[in-house]
Amino acid sequence: MGMRKVAVVGAGMTRFVRRALETPKELAYEAAKMALDSCELKLKDVDGVVVGSAVDAFDGFHMKGEYLSDGAGGWRKPFIRHSVGGATGVFSCIHGWMHVASGLFDVCLVLAEEKMSPCQPHPQGAFLTVYDAILERPLGLNLTWIVPQEMNLYMIRNGYRSEDVARVAVKNKRNALDHPAAMMGEELTVQDVVNSEVISWPVHRLDISGTADGATAVVLASEEVAKRITNKPVWVDGVGYNLDTWYWTSRDLAYPVYVEKAARMAYEMAGIKEPQKEIHIAEPYDPFTFKELQNLEALLLADQGKAAQLLAERVFDRDGRMPVCPSGGLLGVGNPIAAAALMKVAEVFWQLRGEAGKRQVPGNPKTGLAQAWGDMMQAGTVVILKI
């Protein structure tokens, strides 16, 4: 296609915390500095900066990309901020990839940040601004009124019970105990999850990830530069992104077809014909427990209706055949929206390089996939990395 090869050569992140003292600028700086230090680059080596952040209404700064730009190394550099809601963090990698693959930059710093805590009385209130002002907000529509409907239909369509889906929280929160940034790592049983407070049936409190403040950064480089910087470049082999209709009531809520389309776009680019065999580790988006399973099926990494069974058979455990969310995911590490999805990309990066410490999956994985979902719940973004 005439595009250059691009590699991830460094990554960094802050802790994810419910409320951070740091401003969005400072969060951005800590993640960006760590990412640059990790590959021994200085700011002057960076040709351009790409920032992903989901919703201005959380941080309470409009044009928040420009606001935190100096913390992201953007001073007097080509700079752009994008948003695709929850799908942002994975798109951040794609957006950065575009800048390098096209030949425009040799080195691109990608930063994803979210500070949700300033929004009062609760960050969830900011989601109010996403829905139709005329037909939906007056009825009180909020995020926890839509996603549980998806969960309801998804579980019925596939014959899953709450216990089947709750296992995702058990796995991810346990995985997160080994992640230095994690906010919600803990040992739980399926019963703990199913017995937790019913927020919006069928969603229980422990089925949901927590809002948070945090930032993640990765450094992308062209092939020639990447090979000079590191002897372990992680190549961006495939990218995919897709957007479905905004009219969520006319979508098939049980199956996110836009995630499948994004996945196919990425698989085609990466030359992957049998994803279930060729993808060694996966970080699908898991803001709610059922989402991990639903996304795995839409990513064609599990047959429809089979993901829960594979989960129960421990296929998705860190030492299973295809580890899923070895980081601990959003459920375990936390969910500062854009930063959380880029954290998944960073996790695949560290795993493929054998640098994930106690979270390391055995067997020298070579190819990994990270995926995110969001916007008006209609965007799918996918990145495939290969070492």
Binding site: E22, E26, L36, L43, S117, Q120, G125
Partner: protein, 159 residues
Amino acid sequence: MSLLERISKNIQLRSWEGEFPVQYLYTFGVAGERFFRQIKENAKILGARCPQCQITFVPPSLYCERCFERTEDWVEVGHKGEVYTFTVCYRGMDGLPKNPPSVLALVKMLGAEGGFVHRIGEIDPQEIKIGMKVEAVFKPQAQRKGSILDIQYFRPAEK
């Protein structure tokens, strides 16, 4: 076929009214917390210095935006500054006339890069000039909260 339709009777115009009901509670950050503590407790204005670029940032930042190194040296920049630019506002945010008009300036603190947009007080609006030396006037300590408003205004400084 055009999508736009002409409406000739204004009673046919329809709009739906609403608002964003969220509010904000901002913390000042690692650098800002220290900066505003000193303003609140000691009426001191601090800057942060980048040893590499030889620049003192006011308000202080955790890092230098130019070279991306941490700014470990914090310094007091005193209360004096210089009017970099100014404007005189004759109308308020509500659109009503202001009497007297208010003088706003970007005050660069002496010896530092950057400064504050703040009010200039104890001055006839006709007299404000670029380059004028000004000094900060703080509220009494009991009234200071850790806010930019702990500085009431800047006033022309004695030479």
